[in-house]
Symmetry: C2
Subunit: 140 residues, 2 copies
């Protein structure tokens, strides 16, 4: 299970690099809901490349970012479990907050990840088998 | 020690209320830096009242907020330890991100909390004893 705590640890004093440099950390956590299970699939090499490009672009847009971590779950993700964690630390809070907002919006649109929604009582619009594949940015 | 994890637990599936309602959680964590120790003092009754008023105002501004948690450390806060955690969950990520940004900015300006900076090698501008009290919004 993807745990926000596993990401947060790099933003705490137990990480010697951070202890003197870090002031603000913004963590965006996306939990799944509404359906029984989501299952994510990705074109991994392109997804990793795209995420790296987004981080590079974010560092150009906001020049005081310190750490940037993005983790996306692939495979089954039951309702209520975390599917995405984006964590950014920055010298000034405004930049960190703006960067996290931009990163989740861009990730949803640009990173090649798709999700299959498995419904408890069948899917919408008469979908057979109670499953439907959607673009990752379909919601929310 | 104020732990982000202690706040995050209300945003996880172990909280039955959240499990079906929650999609997005935004957590802002402010860690202290630059000085040996910060010490916070607050006019507690007014601070609690002001924080509650900010939460009420945030819920009016962004009507799909689900959970809002704000915790501020009072007393000594060594470098690298968390002094503030603001956590918001919302049905749509845009509102949650905007609300967290607004809440930390408003908290810094409006909540009656002051901080004493204790310097390793004495304070700036020849401050005796290496300590100086500042308004909470002095930085960063």
């Amino acid at each position: 299970m993807l745990s926000p705590a596993s990401i947060l640890h790099v933003f705490t004093p137990s990480c010697p690099i951070c202890a003197t440099a870090l002031t603000n950390a913004v963590v965006f956590i996306l939990l799944d809901k509404e359906v029984k299970t989501l299952s994510y699939e990705a074109y991994i090499p392109m997804a990793e490349k795209t995420v790296q490009a987004l981080i590079t672009e974010a560092r150009q847009k906001w020049d005081d970012l310190i750490h940037v971590a993005i983790v996306h779950k692939i495979g089954d993700c039951p309702v209520g479990e975390t599917s995405v964690v984006i964590a950014v630390s920055s010298a000034h809070r405004k930049q960190g907050l703006e960067a996290v907002h931009w990163l989740i919006d861009e990730l949803k649109v640009k990173v090649p990840i798709w999700k299959k929604e498995v419904y408890v009582h069948g899917g919408p619009d008469g979908v057979d088998g109670g499953e439907v594949w959607k673009a990752n940015n379909a919601m929310p």
